[in-house]
Amino acid sequence: MPQLDLNDDSVVVVIGSGAGGGTLSNELCQQGMKVVLLEAGARQSFATLQNDEWQSFQQLSWLDKRTTSGSWRVAKDFPNLPAWICKTVGGTTVHWAGASLRFQEHEFKTSTVYSGVSKANLLDWPITLADLETYYAKAESKMGVTRTNDIPGLPGNNNFKVMYNGATRIGYNKVHTGRMAINSRPRDKRQSCWQMGFCFQGCKSGAKWSTLYTEIPKAEATGRLDLRPQSQALQIQANGDKVTGVLYADKDGKQLVQKARVVCVAGNSIETPRLLLNSASSTHPNGLANSSGQVGKNYMRHTTGSVYAVFKTPVHMDRGTVMAGIIQDEAELNTKRGFAGGFEMETISLHLPFLAAFLNPGAWGRDYAWAMEQYPNMAGMWIVGEDMPQDTNRVTLHPTEKDSFGLPIPNVHYDDHQNDVAMREYAYKKGAAVYEAVGATRTLAVPPYPSTHNLGTCRMSERASEGVCNKWGQTHDVKNLFISDGSQFTTSAAENPTLTIVTLAIRQAEHIADECKKQNL
């Protein structure tokens, strides 16, 4: 039995329990509000997480059918897997690698600052870095980000040693083990990092921050959180310009309606717009909160790619924290390189099974087998760069295909912008140069994987005609409907998104609680 009544219309309903929804739920509960948290996935524990790539992938990932279109390579190699994100309590914070970087000031005003980028739907955020500074600090403390709050950096593994030496030899200066939401000392009743190397499969030691074992239990301890796992939101119900509740399917497939005072959508950037589009009605014919037509548009996934390098002697890149290593020199704005925006270079490793699947999708034969045999002698890095928002890059409802609930499935369309291509090509060369400086015998440029960063599909805007929500994530059209995940992002910036999602959630919770006290919501 749910502990909050289905007909209790004084509750906030949060959809999705990840970085946005999990944090928001806890922050609201701490401020005295009652929250029903609907999570489509099941609840794992330290015991059920697995150091096994394929098993873990099946256990944690969002695997409901999706389609893809556009010229991006993902549509060719992984036509039904646009994104590697989660359907599990804790959302994608179970899978993420922990990189926690603040946006740079100019990244909030790309329309003003980036000149010479044509055919991009650039827009300034309706907030600035100054607006977020207090909340970034709260998020870093909450998550235990290394190199903040007197928390030492993590010790670098072999993969980082190779990156550090190569990077400094070619003149990079900002090279260190990163700002990571992974304990380097015991903190917040969680252990420090064991250097297992299975960060992507869920952290069995709890050293890596995840809402699964931080925000959610803390919210539950207030007595005001009703978490309902295996409860998939289907439609948000509205009466004119107010939302009234959420129709969802419980773990037995029974369809129920939870009434709500406020609804906050944090289903990640594919399901969030899909839910709004599937909630179309006579008063919202193009989808809920979609008078601007921007719901689903401006989908961003970062300019990504990886560089792996082969050496004559072992590296064992998989041993230890997957992403505790960064070169920040290229994150700055420097159009002399031939593109706007910047990119971070971060250590990454995959284990043998996934390297086989992702190193060069579709490839086979002697050369490929040779590459796989070099596994222990490989080092690797991941490029995370700012991609340009385009309104043709978008999530739409499939015209014919439906899910098991009879609702249209999502299609994700993406084409690289010229700026994205220029940045990626430059970044591949720089990545190879890092490794060649320390004796790489071969470097391999790997195309972008199914997207782990998914952003922008219900973006913030000053003007209602240019986006979906305002500076609080409150939708322009519907006052008691909020966007609470990375769909809010007006632009993608060069930084991994999770810290900013948590930051926005802390700030949004404060606003919602305040507005409720004032009876404005």
Partner: protein, 182 residues
Amino acid sequence: MKRREFLQRSMLVAVGAAVGKVVQPTLAQGETAGGSWTANLKTLNAHQGETLLKMTRHIFPHDRLADSYYANVVADLDTDAGKRADTLKLLQAGVARLDEGEKKFIEIAPDQQLAALKNIESSPFFQKVRGTEIVSLYNNPGVWKEFGYGGPAYEFGGYLKHGFNDLKWLPDPPEAASPKPA
């Protein structure tokens, strides 16, 4: 067989030598390619099993790996074929297509086998075999051991005390970049 395919096949035989050197896979002690392993197949027949074995050895050719690792891939295909009629048809038709011509696939020279596979690499049959192999072969703890990959780390407490930073062929980064472990 259609005339066009026959001509294609004959051409492949003729240019086989030009496709590139292929080393005959090494058989480990006692691990012969023919023989009893095919008796374990439940749906595919022995000839189909042998053909698929040769095919999988060409797709990801690791000379040091015994046939048994590739036989595991064929076993996985066999299990799939037992569950789904369309998969069985796909595999049967695929093997039959490879066998078209004067000699069967398993009877022609390795470089000609490779050429034949290159010819069908876009086909659903080839993609099915490759897609299965990429998981079956590289998700095998025996293969991990051969390649020097350690597998799960939780059971022994992770690499903090097992060499996560033991690389010696480059200098250690300074502490500001990489602090010492606690």
